[in-house]
C-alpha cells in the first residue's frame, strides 16, 4: 500500500521534523514515557520486583498473590514487601528488590498518630508526598498519566476513524448524504458539550470505555468537518479526474488516491488531539464527572490539591507533570506542522 511506503517526499518531511530539535526530542521523550507507562507495574508498585528468600527466587510483580506464609511471615494475605525488606535485612536470610517507587496507587500508607496528607520525604519513600488519604502522589501521577494517555489515544483513533470515513464520504459523494450530515453537524456543534457531558456522566457514572463513548459523542465533529473540506478540494483536482477517466472505482479513488494525499494533513492534527483528550479527561475528573473514585487520575489530584492548598506538594506535582506533558505535546505538534506544512513568509527589512 502506498500509504506506508516512504516516498522521497515523506522522507524529506521526516528529516525536516528531525531537524526541529525541541519537537524531535520532545517526541522521543514522549514516546519513551508512554512505553514506560505500559510497564508502570515494574516501576511503581507495592509488590517487589524480586524476592530472594532462603535460596529461592520470587518475582511477584505480575501473577498471583504470594501469601505472607510463603515468605516466612505469619499471615495468609498478600505479603507486605516493604516490611519484608526490613525483616529480611535484619535476619539476613534473603533480600528484596523494590521498584523505584514502592507504593501502589490504591493503597493507604497510614501512620499511627499522624493525619495525612504527609509531606514528601525520601526516608518514607514518598518522593512527592501523599494525598489526603495517604496514597502516594508519585504513584498516582504515574498511573494517572497512563490512564490519561491511553484515554486520549483511544479517543483519537476512534474519532479519527469516524471523522475520516464520514468526512471523506461527505466530501466525495456530496449530495443528500452531505446535506444530511451538514445539518446534523450544524445542530450538534451548537450543543454546549462540556455541560451535556457533565449531565450525562453525573447520571450514569461512567467507566473508562463509556467515558470515551460519551466524549466521542461530541469529539467526532471536528475531524469530520475538516476531512469533508479536504476531500472536497482533493476531489476537484486533476489526478482524481485522471484516475476516474482510467476507470478507477470510487473505492479505489478514495483509498488509493485521495486518502494518501490527506494523510499528511491528518498527521498534523494528531498532537493537538492528544493534548485535548488529556485536557478533556482531566477537566472532567477535576469536576468529579470523570472516572469513578479510586481510579488514579490527574484531575482528581488537581481537585484534591486545590482544595488542600496548604499541602502544596499535591497540587504542585500534578501541575508540573501536566505542564511538562502538555508543553511537550505542543512542541511536537508545532514541529510536525512546521515539517509537514511549512509556511514561508516574505519579510521586509
Amino acid at each position: 500500500m502506498s500509504l506506508f511506503q516512504l516516498n522521497p517526499l515523506t522522507v524529506k518531511k521526516i528529516n525536516r521534523f528531525k531537524s526541529i530539535r525541541r519537537g524531535y526530542y520532545s517526541f522521543i521523550i514522549f514516546v519513551i514515557l508512554v512505553l514506560l507507562s505500559c510497564f508502570a507495574e515494574v516501576l511503581v508498585n507495592s509488590r517487589a520486583l524480586l524476592v530472594s528468600y532462603e535460596g529461592s527466587l520470587y518475582f511477584p510483580t505480575y501473577g498471583a498473590i504470594i501469601p505472607g506464609k510463603t515468605l516466612g511471615l505469619d499471615y495468609e494475605y498478600e505479603t507486605n514487601y516493604r516490611d519484608l525488606q526490613k525483616i529480611l535485612k535484619e535476619k539476613g536470610n534473603g533480600f528484596v528488590v523494590m521498584p523505584p517507587i514502592p507504593f501502589d496507587p490504591y493503597e493507604n500508607d497510614l501512620r499511627d498518630g499522624e493525619f495525612p496528607p504527609f509531606a514528601p520525604s525520601f526516608e518514607e519513600g514518598h518522593y512527592l508526598g501523599t494525598d489526603t488519604i495517604a496514597r502516594d502522589v508519585a504513584a498516582r501521577l504515574v498511573y494517572g498519566f497512563r490512564t490519561a494517555i491511553f484515554f486520549s489515544l483511544i479517543l483519537l483513533v476512534v474519532s479519527y476513524l469516524i471523522g475520516v470515513s464520514i468526512g471523506a464520504a461527505m466530501g466525495y459523494f456530496g449530495g443528500l448524504f452531505d446535506l444530511l450530515f451538514q445539518r446534523i453537524i450544524e445542530i450538534w456543534s451548537n450543543i454546549p458539550f462540556l455541560y451535556v457531558i457533565m449531565i450525562i456522566s453525573s447520571i450514569m457514572i461512567p467507566n473508562f470505555f463509556t467515558l470515551i463513548a460519551i466524549v466521542l459523542l461530541f469529539g467526532w465533529i471536528q475531524m469530520t468537518w475538516y476531512m469533508r473540506t479536504v476531500t472536497y478540494k482533493e476531489k476537484a483536482r486533476e489526478y482524481v479526474m485522471a484516475a476516474r477517466a482510467l476507470g478507477a472505482s470510487n473505492a479505489r479513488v478514495i483509498f488509493n488516491h485521495i486518502l494518501p494525499n490527506t494523510v499528511s494533513i491528518i498527521i498534523t492534527f494528531i498532537p493537538f488531539s492528544v493534548a485535548s483528550g488529556i485536557i478533556a479527561l482531566t477537566s472532567l475528573d477535576y469536576l468529579g464527572f470523570g472516572l469513578p473514585a479510586p481510579t488514579p487520575s490527574w484531575g482528581e489530584l488537581l481537585s484534591q490539591g486545590s482544595n488542600n492548598l496548604e499541602s502544596i506538594w499535591i497540587v504542585s506535582s500534578v501541575i508540573v507533570a501536566m505542564t511538562i506533558i502538555l508543553v511537550m505535546v505542543t512542541f511536537i505538534g508545532e514541529a510536525i506542522r512546521e515539517a509537514f506544512d511549512p509556511k514561508k513568509h516574505t519579510t521586509y527589512e
Binding site: 445539518r183 450544524e186 445542530i187 451548537n190 450543543i191 454546549p192 458539550f193 462540556l194 455541560y195 451535556v196 457533565m198 449531565i199 450525562i200 453525573s202 447520571i203 450514569m204 493534548a275 485536557i279 482531566t282 477537566s283 477535576y286 469536576l287 468529579g288 464527572f289 488537581l302 490539591g305 486545590s306 492548598l309 496548604e310 502544596i312 497540587v315 504542585s316 501541575i319 501536566m322 505542564t323 502538555l326 508543553v327 505535546v329 505542543t330 509556511k343 513568509h345 516574505t346 519579510t347 521586509y348
Partner: protein, 344 residues
C-alpha cells in the same frame, strides 16, 4: 445572504429542541431525581428527629412521605405524565419565560439565573476586551518584528498560554498569588465587607481586586490563539502582492500596514468573535468553580451535583441560546468585515 441568515435563525428552533429534548429525556430516566431526593431527605429528617424521641427505627420513608404525598410531588413536577407530554408542557412554559422552580432553593429558576448571569457576563465581556486589547497589538508587533528577540521571548509566554488549559493557569495563580503570597483573595465575586463599604468606588475596587486572578486565567486561555492568529494573518497579508505593490510605490512601511495589511488581517479575528462566546460559557464551569464565583457556570455545576434538574435545564437553555446566537453573530461579523464572503 439575507436568505442564509434567515435560514440560520430558523435552524435555531430545531437545534434548540434537539438539545433540550436530549437532556430532558436523560434527566427523566435516571435514578436519584428530585423526588427520590426529597424522599431521602425526609428519611434523614425523620431519622434524626425520630431517633431522639422514640426508638422506632423501622418504617422510615413510608412514615414521612406516604403514597399520596409522592403522587402530589410527581404531579407537581410533571413526572406523572409520559416524557413527551411533559416535555411539551415544559417547552410551552419556556417559551413564556417560565423555567420552573428550583427543587433545591424553591425559587423560580429564571430569577436565579437572572441573578447569576450578570456575574458571568462581567467576566466574559471583560475577558473579551482584554484579549483583543492584548492580542491585536501583540500579534502586530510579533509580525512586524518577526524572528527578532522580542518575537522569541513573547512566543514563550504565548506558547505556555496555548499549551496549558485556562483552569490549570487559574489553579497556578491561586496557589502562587492567593495562597502563598496572599496578594489576592482566594475567590468570590466580592469580599465580606462589600455591603459595609462607604463609597461606590471602594466597591468597584473590591470587585476588581477579586476579579484580578480569574480574569488573568480567562485571558490566559484565550489570548494565545488570538495572538497567533493575528500574527499569522498579518504576516500572510504582508507577504501578499498588494502590500508589496504599495511598498514598491513608495508608501512608508508603517502606512502600508495600517492602511492595507491590517484591515485584512482583522478578518480572522472577527470570525473568532462568536467562538469566544462559547469558550466563555464552556470554560466558566472550571474557572468559576476554582475561584468560587457565583456565576452561571458554578450554578450549572452545582445543580448537576445536587440533581436540581429545573436549574440544570434552565442553564442549558440559556447557554444553548447564547451559543446559537453567538455563532450567528460571528457569521454576521465576518460578512460585515469581508465583502468577499458569500454565505449560501
Amino acid at each position: 445572504m439575507t436568505q442564509y441568515f434567515i435560514r440560520r435563525l430558523l435552524l435555531i428552533v430545531p437545534t434548540f429542541i434537539g438539545i433540550t429534548i436530549l437532556v430532558f429525556v436523560i434527566t427523566r430516566f435516571v435514578p436519584g431525581g428530585p423526588i427520590e431526593r426529597m424522599i431521602a431527605e425526609a428519611q434523614q429528617a425523620s431519622m434524626q428527629s425520630g431517633g431522639m424521641t422514640q426508638s422506632s427505627g423501622n418504617g422510615i420513608g413510608a412514615a414521612t412521605l406516604d403514597q399520596d404525598q409522592i403522587k402530589q410531588l410527581e404531579e407537581y413536577y410533571g413526572f406523572d405524565k409520559p416524557v413527551l407530554v411533559s416535555y411539551w408542557d415544559w417547552l410551552v412554559k419556556v417559551v413564556h419565560f417560565d423555567l420552573g422552580v428550583s427543587t433545591r432553593y424553591s425559587d423560580p429558576v429564571w430569577d436565579t439565573i437572572k441573578e447569576r448571569l450578570p456575574i458571568s457576563a462581567f467576566y466574559g465581556i471583560l475577558t473579551m476586551l482584554i484579549t483583543y486589547f492584548i492580542s491585536i497589538p501583540l500579534g502586530y508587533m510579533k509580525a512586524v518584528r518577526h524572528n527578532s528577540h522580542f518575537d522569541h521571548v513573547s512566543s514563550i509566554v504565548v506558547f505556555i498560554g496555548y499549551a496549558i488549559p485556562s483552569y490549570v493557569v487559574g489553579i497556578i495563580l491561586l496557589v502562587v498569588f492567593a495562597s502563598n503570597l496572599e496578594w489576592f483573595p482566594m475567590g468570590g465575586f466580592y469580599g465580606d465587607e462589600f455591603e459595609d463599604m462607604d463609597s461606590k468606588l471602594e466597591q468597584v475596587a473590591d470587585v476588581f481586586y477579586h476579579a484580578a486572578l480569574p480574569l488573568l486565567a480567562y485571558v490566559a486561555g484565550s489570548f494565545a490563539v488570538m495572538t497567533f492568529m493575528m500574527k499569522n494573518s498579518l504576516m500572510d497579508n504582508l507577504a501578499a502582492d498588494y502590500v508589496r505593490t504599495a511598498i514598491a510605490k513608495g508608501i512608508p512601511f508603517k502606512k502600508a500596514i495600517t492602511r492595507h495589511a491590517m484591515r485584512n488581517s482583522l478578518i480572522p479575528i472577527a470570525t473568532h468573535f462568536g467562538n469566544n462566546i462559547s469558550v466563555i460559557i464552556g470554560g466558566s464551569f472550571l474557572i468559576e468553580k476554582i475561584f468560587n464565583i457565583d456565576g452561571l457556570g458554578l450554578l450549572g455545576y452545582e445543580s448537576i451535583v445536587e440533581r436540581d434538574y429545573p436549574i440544570v435545564l434552565g442553564v442549558l437553555v440559556i447557554s444553548a441560546i447564547l451559543q446559537l446566537f453567538g455563532n450567528i453573530l460571528s457569521d454576521i461579523c465576518v460578512a460585515a468585515v469581508d465583502p468577499r464572503v458569500q454565505f449560501r
